[in-house]
Symmetry: C2
Subunit: 220 residues, 2 copies
DNA sequence: GCCTACAGTGAACACTGTTAACCGTTAACA
DNA sequence: TGTTAACGGTTAACAGTGTTCACTGTAGGC
């Protein structure tokens, strides 16, 4: 779809607000209302673009993952790959992950294409962590340390996490929240005040998280 | 300034895009151009509002901090206080922290009021962590573990961190990035797929981070 | 030759931030 | 006391936005 690639071109050139219907149409020598033959609204257009971006990122990570020798290295690879992709495509990343405060209970169980693509993206990390665990179960915090409320919530997601126990799900979640938060902060410029090049900091953090998952120290 | 409180009312009611010049003006029985007597542009208005919000949040955290018996408890208090404030004011929090991708080298060393207010906000955490360290220096990772590049960057910020060594600055940064990332993910709905109530998870994470800073386990 | 679906157009509506020209009140000052 | 300037507000207008409507060709199927 050339219309989405036109939208993306405008996105990388001028950020999310540059994706205007007339601007996109102009890019294709078209009239603005013509786009309504293909998308129900402006939101639908950017949502479809976001879905595409998720799929592209997912494919990139899968390809990168499959170059890893073992599961542990694969986990390091996709973590670094996510950061690299985000830094190489800050506008796209901002559009995908930086849309805050989705009004509560937006669409119940969102099944919009972009949300589904986001789930496929997340599954790459979830599946790999689960594989790592079942291949060599990493030591996880005992239930007493997490507290009964948290354990109950985690066990509720046990089937989704391939039957992992609460403590292991907790560590998987920690892996994800730390990785995600770190990359968002770096890409969104929330780390500039402390570090001008967050690469070394990211690597150190990744080593920490990897250790918690029982992985060998860093590759390379 | 009643004009900013009108803008805030619209913000909490309809999110950031609801802050329109005409909407704000209507709230005060005014005409839209009248607002230009007080703010140079729409951006200036929301920027001033953001500065106010930072100051309000900072004051709230300081007041909360001063109810803590010792420095360690104070650190737990402001961490939880930040989360509570964010959850209680998601629209405000989204406006303050969820504006992604500030175009590179926006205003060099930004000295806009909102940026200054953000620095005062961050200082609350930085100062307290430094006090905690100098009262009872927590064990920090050796330089060899962090790598020379990262150590060099961290030592560059040593004066800003009250003379703390690289390893201690690293742990302080870890405290902040984990706390910040965690809260952003929760209030921006990025944790719903895994936890419907992230409170217990937040507490567990906070205990982890506190342990790394040599603090006693949780209060209460 | 009809008919339907497709793909596109220009005009228009309601909205946005912003600017210009204008007006009344108020206060300072020679 | 009369003049001047600033303050705080107005209406009208401009360019831009997403969106809808009515319309026009143009292709293919029966």
């Amino acid at each position: 779809m050339e219309i989405k690639s036109a939208a993306r071109k405008l996105l990388v050139e001028g950020g999310a607000p540059a994706i205007g219907l007339r601007a996109v149409a102009r890019e294709l020598n078209l009239s603005a209302p013509a786009l309504y033959r293909y998308f129900a609204s402006h939101d639908d257009l950017v949502s479809a673009l976001v879905a595409d971006l998720y799929d592209e990122l997912t494919a990139f990570l899968i390809e990168l993952r499959d170059t890893g020798a073992d599961l542990g290295e694969q986990l390091f690879l996709i973590a670094g790959g996510l950061r690299d992709w985000a830094l190489a495509h800050p506008a796209e990343f901002g559009l995908m992950f930086g849309s805050p405060v989705p009004d509560p209970e937006a669409v119940e169980h969102e099944l919009t294409p972009s949300h589904q693509a986001a789930m496929r993206f997340g599954a790459v990390f979830k599946d790999l962590v689960a594989q790592v665990y079942w291949q060599r179960p990493f030591p996880s915090p005992p239930d007493a340390e997490l507290g009964p409320e948290l354990v109950a919530q985690l066990e509720q997601k046990s089937e989704f996490f391939d039957g992992m126990p609460a403590g292991a799900i907790y560590l998987s979640l920690t892996y994800w929240t730390r990785l995600y938060g770190l990359i968002c902060m770096e890409v969104f410029g929330q780390l500039h005040w402390a570090l001008e090049d967050a690469g070394a900091y990211f690597d150190a953090q990744l080593r920490e998280i990897g250790q918690a998952l029982g992985l060998d120290c860093p590759p390379g």
